[in-house]
């Protein structure tokens, strides 16, 4: 029992550092995208034209934006099922309040962004203080917001001034401005997640919120933050959709509630929280967009596209599990 010579407690087996699980996941999604491109190239030569890729890049924007906010809530082990209704409500408010008046664009958009954030924070409050499961809180909030949207209007409403559609359709050198901005936002959020204390805390809270609380981390603040961010990005998506369609619709967001979860998990963020990279979410959104694009080229009816999407989800999440087990 000499106190000077230390015997290592466990068999010290050198382990080589391999690519991280996140990296493998990104590569897998990338491989799937490449596979689709190869199939597309074989099937039709129009698929490989730059305009086509530019279109896909543009079309992925709305889903990518709403999924970004969803990624953050899922990273903390939560979920936000109010995003769909939130998009619906905020989109009718946006177009209804602007109503073709270009002077109103800026104040309304700022107001909508603030409102979305506030609603998100309200979700977070429900999770933190009411201590209700996020699934239930956000579901309830979703119902309320959908109701309010329908109170405001039951039909498409409002219009947008000239030039407002450039948010959705604007291109510089053939590249979608909205799409590029979205990709940039992803990079910024990723940097925030990796290089700031708060960002790391988001992962820690998702990994084990109990432990995070014991270590004195600001768990509540982080939860408020991610739900607020989810609301913010839902607002961004709402404005983007108004720009794309020219008016707000009271059911504009309905499909986004569950759809926003798909790119998140396909990209490798675990629903249990604390694991995964938001670049996976971005790639997941691109994957779904390019898949739709390919199926359009193949003249596959929309109906069957859904089947394909469902099967892709099944395949992606099954493969994911297999990886996790082996490592």
């Amino acid at each position: 029992m000499s106190a000077t010579i230390l015997t290592p407690p466990a068999t010290p087996r050198r382990v080589r550092r391999g690519p991280s699980a996140d990296m493998l996941r990104l590569l897998m999604v990338l491989a799937l995208i490449l596979a689709i491109i190869v199939v597309g190239a074989v099937v039709t030569d129009r698929f490989m034209r730059p305009e086509n890729f530019a279109n896909v890049f543009e079309q992925a924007t709305d889903l990518a934006l709403v999924a970004l906010g969803q990624s953050l809530t899922v990273l903390t082990g939560g979920i936000d099922l109010s995003v769909g209704s939130m998009i619906s409500l905020l989109s009718v408010l946006t177009s209804g309040l602007i109503d073709g008046n270009s002077a109103m664009v800026l104040p309304v958009c700022l107001g909508i962004l603030a409102g979305g954030t506030l609603l998100g924070v309200l979700n977070g409050c429900g999770v933190v203080w009411l201590r209700v499961h996020p699934l239930i809180v956000t579901l309830g909030m979703g119902a309320i917001l959908q109701g309010v949207a329908l109170l405001y209007t039951r039909a498409p409403i409002g219009s947008i001034p000239d030039g407002f559609d450039s948010l959705a359709y604007g291109r510089v050198a053939g590249i979608s401005v909205g799409g590029a901005a979205t990709a940039l936002i992803f990079v910024l959020v990723a940097a925030f997640l990796r290089y700031t204390n708060t960002g790391r805390t988001i992962y820690a809270v998702g990994d084990d919120s109990q432990a995070a609380r014991l270590l004195g981390m600001p768990v509540r603040r982080v939860i408020l933050l991610v739900y607020g961010a989810s609301g913010f990005f839902a607002a961004v998506t709402a404005i983007y959709l108004v720009s794309r369609f020219g008016s707000g619709q009271p059911y504009a967001g309905a499909d986004y509630t569950l759809a926003s979860v798909t790119p998140v998990v396909v990209g490798g963020i675990a629903l249990s929280g604390g694991r995964g990279s938001i670049f996976g979410t971005l790639l997941g959104a691109y994957l779904l967009a390019i898949l739709n694009d390919l199926l359009n080229f193949l003249h596959v009816p929309t109906q069957i596209q859904l089947v394909a999407e469902g099967l892709i989800i099944m395949a992606a999440v099954s493969i994911h599990v297999e990886r996790g087990r082996r490592s």
Binding site: A10, R200, A204, D208, M217, S327
Partner: protein
């Protein structure tokens, strides 16, 4: 250095601490012992700032202190390593160690490379070879504990509190941990060491404080007291007979063999182990954690599929066991993980004790609640399970009572064999003696008992025969008269003097 005076703390319905005192000096390892519920954890939490006392004062270096929260205590150099680690399984070793205190680069951004280098330095100081980028969830429990200790060192702790650190590790790992704790002590760190394993206190600690029912009982230098005295102080009564009497050597030899497991193999964890269990005899299964004991027991019960070997019981030989077969053959299995594998935590005592014998509380497919209730009532009586009745959800009961509930379940079905894996882990002294008594009573009914234990005094005190496992194989069995702590250790480790 740290001085606690007249601390009291009440929870609704329970006076957890009253007029508690404790003095800890720099450079000493101070043991804190007492039964579960004696107030150790509450005291720990108050010292660590996780709870505020109702009354009393604390002083650090003679200056009175009052924590506003865990962060304040931490800033003052007080660090707690809880029994259940506070680690993030999907973050790396380096991140776990430096979480919240990352190395930053000039942009104030988290510098992951520098953080990993700092973590590697810390691990080297502890003499542990652990790659800082590895995910904590992939490490062994012992390595995770080292990460916890490394985490404490970041803050340059002045007082380190360890809550039952050896509950989850064994053998060499314990010794390695102790070496590091002594090293820290020699650097002037004060350590409060909480453990149920009294023998560790004698080999590691300098002084010991006994608490009971939320009150301070005594503080002694370790040299002044012996084991029996400590137990007496803790329990508050004279425990002359800690373990019930064992079977006579002649009876052990004459007892009928009820289960014979031969050459069981299970991957790398069990490499050809054989064991025989005799009616009415308590057979111990000793060895280090990871030696394959739990896996062997699981294989016999059918919880893990064995790759080779046979289990002979009731005149039949099985090459493949499943829990259903085992239960039909009258085998019971009290798992080591009662929360994760044993009990349905949200359900009540009645549901849990009858879970293995549903046939006996039903007529055809229909449950009969009256019979279920009467069985549960009888069990609560016989096993002295502290609860308000059969409808008490097990989640709200203490570890000892949960364990008794689990044993009661299997007592109904184990006609031939009862396997208990670490039956007294996390169980206080009072409940322990109860569990020992129950084991002996079952044995008296003719049941063959197989007890897996990492605690040598328990193995030696309870077992009539002892098998010892080492790295998946079974180097030997100790018969009555041969069973000593030394003999078990010899067989469990590499240097073999005795056979």
């Amino acid at each position: 250095m740290l001085s606690v005076r007249h601390i009291s703390k009440a929870f609704p319905g329970v006076q957890a601490l009253s007029d508690m005192q404790l003095d800890v000096h720099a450079g000493e390892i101070h043991a804190l012992v007492g039964e579960n519920g004696a107030g150790k954890s509450t005291l720990t939490k108050i010292i660590a700032g996780a709870q505020a006392p109702d009354a009393g004062e604390m002083s650090l270096d003679g200056k009175p202190v009052r924590w506003t929260g865990p962060a304040a205590a931490k800033a003052a150099g007080i660090h707690v390593i809880y029994q259940e680690f506070v680690l993030f399984p999907h973050l790396s070793v380096a991140e776990n160690i430096f979480i919240g205190h990352y190395r930053r680069n000039r942009l104030r951004a988290v510098d992951h490379a520098a953080t990993e280098r700092a973590a590697a330095e810390l691990m080297a100081r502890l003499g542990v070879r652990l790659e800082p980028w590895r995910l904590v969830g992939e490490l062994t429990v012992a390595d995770q504990q080292m990460v916890e200790i490394a985490k404490a060192l970041v803050d340059r702790p002045r007082l380190l509190i360890l809550d039952e650190p050896t509950a989850v590790i064994a053998g060499q790992e314990v010794e390695a941990l102790f070496e590091r704790l002594r090293l820290l002590r020699d650097e002037g760190v004060a350590i409060i060491y909480i453990s149920h394993r009294l023998e560790e206190i004698f080999s590691l600690c300098d002084r010991v404080t006994v608490v009971k029912d939320g009150q301070w009982i005594a503080t002694h230098a370790v040299g002044e007291v012996d084991r029996d005295r400590l137990v007496t102080l803790m329990v508050g009564r004279d425990v002359t007979q800690f373990f019930p009497p064992r079977a006579d050597a002649a009876d052990v030899a004459a007892a009928e063999v009820v289960l014979q497991a031969s050459d069981i193999r299970l991957g790398r964890r069990v490499r050809g182990a054989s064991i025989e269990l005799r009616a009415g005899i308590v057979t111990g299964l000793a060895g280090m954690v990871g030696a394959g004991r739990s896996e062997l027991a699981m294989a016999i019960f059918g919880g893990l599929p064995m790759e080779a070997g046979t289990v002979a019981i009731g005149g039949r030989v099985f090459r493949r066991m499943t829990p259903a077969i085992a239960i039909r053959q009258g085998i019971g299995f009290v798992t080591e993980d009662r929360k994760g594998e044993g009990l349905a935590m949200l359900q009540d005592v009645a549901v849990n004790v009858t879970a293995a014998c549903l046939d006996s509380v039903s007529a055809g497919p229909m449950l009969q609640s009256a019979r279920e209730r009467s069985i549960a009532d009888a069990d609560i009586e016989a096993f002295r399970i502290a609860c308000f009745g059969p409808g008490n959800p097990v989640a709200t009961m203490s570890g000892g009572n949960q364990q008794k509930t689990l044993i009661a379940r299997w007592a109904h079905t184990c006609r031939s064999v009862l396997i208990l894996d670490e039956p007294t882990r996390g169980v206080d002294v009072g409940a322990r003696t109860e569990i020992y008594r129950i084991m002996r009573e079952l044995a008296a009914r003719g049941v063959a008992i197989l007890m897996i234990s990492s605690e040598l005094p328990e193995v030696v005190g309870m077992s009539d025969r002892v098998y010892v496992m080492r790295e998946g194989s079974m180097p030997g069995v100790l018969e009555p008269g041969q069973i000593t702590e030394e003999a078990v250790v010899d067989l469990a480790t590499h240097h073999r003097h005795a056979a």
